[in-house]
Symmetry: C2
Subunit: 392 residues, 2 copies
């Protein structure tokens, strides 16, 4: 018997959508049938590439009777209204991280989803990466004893990728705290599996021309006692992919190019930079559906320590450093590039099979709460307690 197909609309055809469309297009049970974007060029590109209907707004897309679910990839500040609109029309939702910019917005989205009975899945983050899932499985197996400590260190060129003005404004969800640190928060949450107890963070705005947080270091402690050390710098100096076998976040092969993003960006007006971003994203280039990655996607250098062994992603799997030496768990290459199958599987399983998603509204809310606590901790230079913030 044929599996039921999921008819999907894409709200927002920007960089997030560019990155998700290969996995959506390759999914065996998903049909991409509609999209919304305010840019005519993006809509024309979608019609040419996917042959579906287009709308000028996410709200209009929500009213499309020919879709079952909406992938909300609009700017962060639009997530709450776009998800509430989708729910009002009975459409299931996959919403990009961060779920929203406040716990109150998350609550509004959660309430709307609950009231209309739709599935609400939050992601993709690198917590969905096969290497992280495999590490989680090894931890859960008990082979290495209890998980005790996690380190994740990422140095990237994030701050010098082309941006729209709001992406450089922390108050509107710009900078690393809402866009990169959530990957780290979700990776360690996925590995521990329980609620956070407290966080202590320090962050920095080091480039006056890009006045949003570009670097951070934090110590997170879970209720379980597991401690996680997270460090991020997006200032395009050192590149932590050197510590991860010189493969890129996506799993692609990579050559050292320190400072290349800064040089490519150069000095240009905000308008020029926004155009540069649009041209390098879906509206300008569409998506390349045929690529496959050379290696596993990952996020920075990651080490999870259990009582009797350490776990670390390798280029093509997971390294297990046990009492008696090291072995590698090889992993199959993803179908697509980037590989974001995990989050789409969760949406499909929730809608069609009635399987509750792991990365549901409560999960996404807890990540937003943690990110906001890190922001608060850095601002107030003190530890912030989080007990009770995970509503799970």
């Amino acid at each position: 018997m044929a599996e039921r197909r999921l008819r999907l609309g894409v709200a927002g055809l920007g960089r997030a959508a560019s990155s998700m469309l290969p996995s959506l297009a390759a999914h065996p049970h998903v049909d991409i049938v509609a999209a919304a974007d305010q840019l005519p060029l993006a809509r024309a590109r979608f019609e040419a590439d996917f042959g579906g209907r287009t709308w000028e707004s996410a709200e209009a897309l929500a009213g499309d009777p020919g879709i079952d679910a909406i992938y909300v990839a609009t700017p962060h500040q639009c997530h709450v209204s776009d998800v509430v609109a989708a729910a009002a029309h009975g459409k299931h939702v996959l919403v990009e991280k961060p779920m929203a910019l406040s716990v109150e917005e998350c609550a509004a989205m959660t309430d709307a989803a609950r009231a209309s009975g739709i599935a609400l899945v939050v992601g993709h983050t690198h917590a969905f990466d096969p290497v992280v899932r495999t590490m989680r499985d090894v931890i859960a197996s008990g082979e290495l004893g209890a998980l005790r400590m996690i380190v994740n260190v990422a140095y990237t060129d994030f701050l010098y990728r082309p941006r729209r003005p709001e992406e450089l404004d922390s108050a509107r969800g710009g900078g690393i705290m809402y866009n990169q640190v959530p990957h780290q928060i979700e990776i360690v949450r996925a590995l521990d599996g329980g609620p956070l107890r407290s966080v202590r963070a320090a962050s920095g705005v080091w480039d006056r021309n890009r006045p949003t947080e570009g670097a951070m270091t934090a110590l997170l402690e879970f209720a379980s006692g597991v401690a996680a050390s997270l460090t991020y710098s997006g200032y395009d100096h050192f590149d932590s992919d050197e510590l991860a076998f010189w493969i890129a976040e996506s799993g692609a092969d990579k050559s050292p190019a320190h400072g290349a993003a800064r040089r490519a960006l150069g000095a240009r007006s905000a308008g020029d930079e926004a155009r540069m971003k649009a041209e390098s994203a879906f509206a300008g280039r569409g998506v390349r559906l045929a690529e496959t990655p050379a290696h596993q996607p990952h996020f920075g250098m990651l080490i999870a320590s259990c009582e009797r062994g350490d776990l670390r992603p390798s280029a093509d799997g997971v390294l297990v450093y046990g009492d008696d030496g090291v072995r590698e768990i090889p992993l199959p290459r993803g179908r697509t590039f980037p590989n974001k199958d995990g989050v789409i599987d969760e949406l499909y399983d929730a809608v069609v099979r009635g399987i509750a998603p792991l990365h549901d509204a409560a999960w996404g809310t807890a990540t937003v709460a943690a990110a906001l606590a890190l922001v608060q901790s850095a601002r107030e230079r003190r530890e912030i307690m989080l007990e009770g913030a995970d509503v799970r």
Copy 2:
């Protein structure tokens, strides 16, 4: 005119002395003329190798009229009495880290040194490494703007090196908190240059057979606002020298050997293990004075981020990742192996040239205070404020 020579006695001929003797012996203005140890085998070895006088106790050595200074390398818990005895006899002191096991002991040592007018130098730690000093110089030059963030990550086999029983007892200064974390504390203190404001740590005792702290992660914030993330595991699983060009802490070339220390130790009685330690240290093997290291000594993976660039030790110098790419500052090889010249130079300069040491009693006390605050933070699962703890 010939420089004045410093006549030195060595109190305690254990592993610390084994590691320091090459640098002491190679120093152009230091003569090793006496030593103290309770083990007859160690005294005999010293007499054979160095031809000097030997004593059964550090107190007896302190009374030797033929020495100007004492290198105190006795077990941690003996530091306070051995330094006070040296001061009472007007002998200058170089005392191993940790300076002592409490701030009160440090105060007693400081008072004794002040009362008798002797020089008191604390070290060696990896803060004296040429790579760290070079990073500090680049930071001080202002070339990269202000220092903002430091990460140090070390995964070693520390816990499975042969130990005496007290080295596995935290109450007597055993475990990583008093022996390895001080390296990390001093590296980041040397780079920032100012007092610490607060610390938050989590530590773990993961092997019941070696019931002392073997792993830790911490966030330290300096009064300057600089944040430092320190992580250490001595459980012989992952080896962070993989992230540091596969060179050992000493600068020697290294081959991966995950779990080798645990296998070599095996299951044996405490007495057998103490004997194994003695045999592998000075009493059993003496010191090899001719070796020179292939590369620079270092401690784990270290990245210091300034506003306009990151600094990182390379195998043979320091990498500067600036706005326009990466360059390397090459450093000369050390005269000796391990290379601990820096701390001996400080002692010599303090005694002979009247130059106040950087790593003086106040410096050593602040490191002990920081290590104790990390212990307290981990125990109480909360941030500990340190303002005022640096008496400088």
